[in-house]
Symmetry: C2
Subunit: 235 residues, 2 copies
């Protein structure tokens, strides 16, 4: 991969959270590293899911996909209160939460210069169980609104039984970094004359036609937020 | 999430690799668990990237996105020989490789029943460095062909310097599982009369118009595999 096609890193430093820690500093292709809050927030907001990493007692790491939501500088996750992942996270274990957006295949003339254009946010830290009723409510609404903006105001929120079955955990964005790769391939000069197509094939997660629940009353219209669905814009 | 809309699990057992291990057995929503090789292979082949989890010496897990390729029952990954992740993987550390395909937002009438339709493969194991020249060549070609079928036959393969800069690691698919979630939301009976649209908003990773490298000779045509790009079909 190559640094071409993007400006040198100019992290705007506003707080200690915007400076890399020894653990979050991008070592591989450091010119792609970003530590500013706006970039990290935008990736987390656009990505529908993240992948959570935690280590089991026997040292085996696990990586599982889940929905997340960001409120200010806190990332919320939720799941069944019986799940391994949520149990581990609620007990204050070290975790890594990674959200990745694929933007394109970078197709070069040499195999070596093949890569992807992508935006990725990596959050390190120790998660905590969210037990305060008000914070739980905030988090659960944010998780629904992360899927479809404004939807939490329309749906039935959890009853006591559902609430008891749901674990909510929080992770601070204090120790986070992003890596952003853009631009065309950067082949060696000697390869440019090759008779091989080179460029970028753009990629995007797109939505199809909404499929109503077979049990839906056909008089209920498709809301605008679903009919004209789009993820939050990239910054 | 709900078991509706999909058949009960009927894993076809062909080898020990198709039975869950105590670590890969799906505990949460076990009716979504799949252990048959065909399902796991299809998810890994369609997913452009995976997320790799490994644990650093201080116990901090890391989760990083990367390109993968499958050859039979082996998963290959590669990267800079100087990267933390590849160094850890080449030294035979415990890893988890997870590939996730998002198929839809499942929008219910209750917040609790909101979920995603997705297909996810999780591979556990201890990775090994690939040092044999022939296996490295096989893996590097598979990694390029995973991006665009047949492309490795067209591009310039690594020279000695590039080869030395590239670490290749392998992970057996022996201990792997999949989780597949499909179908409409499954709201409580009492919620069905709510005046709230419910259903599935399909999601898919789609390609845009190929963007030629600005340095490309304009006489080089876009190959069919890129002009009519599609991922391997789901099984």
């Amino acid at each position: 991969m190559s640094p071409a096609g993007q400006p040198p890193p100019q992290p705007r430093v506003r707080s200690t959270g915007e400076l890399p820690s020894p653990r979050t500093r991008i070592r591989r292709l450091p010119q792609k590293g970003r530590y500013d809050r706006a970039t990290i927030h935008a990736i987390l907001d656009e990505a529908l899911i993240c992948h959570v990493g935690f280590t089991a007692a026997d040292g085996q790491p696990f990586v599982l996909p889940t929905i997340h939501a960001r409120v200010d500088d806190t990332l919320y996750l939720h799941g069944s209160s019986g799940s391994r992942m949520l149990t581990a996270m609620a007990s204050g274990t070290k975790v890594c939460v990674t959200a990745t957006l694929l933007d394109g295949l970078v197709l070069a003339r040499s195999g070596f210069e093949h890569s992807m254009n992508y935006r990725c946010a990596v959050v390190l830290g120790t998660s905590r169980a969210v037990t305060d009723a008000q914070e739980r409510q905030l988090a659960l609404r944010a998780l629904i609104d992360h899927m479809v903006a404004g939807r939490s105001a329309r749906v039935r929120m959890p009853n006591r039984k559902e609430d008891a079955a749901t674990a909510v955990v929080a992770l601070s964005l204090h120790e986070a970094s992003a890596k952003v790769s853009t631009g065309p391939p950067t082949d060696e000069q000697a390869d440019l004359a090759m008779d091989v197509w080179a460029g970028v094939l753009p990629l995007a997660l797109t939505v199809g036609v909404p499929q109503p629940d077979p049990l839906l009353d056909t008089r209920v219209p498709v809301p605008e937020a679903i009919a004209s669905y789009r993820r939050p814009q990239r910054s």
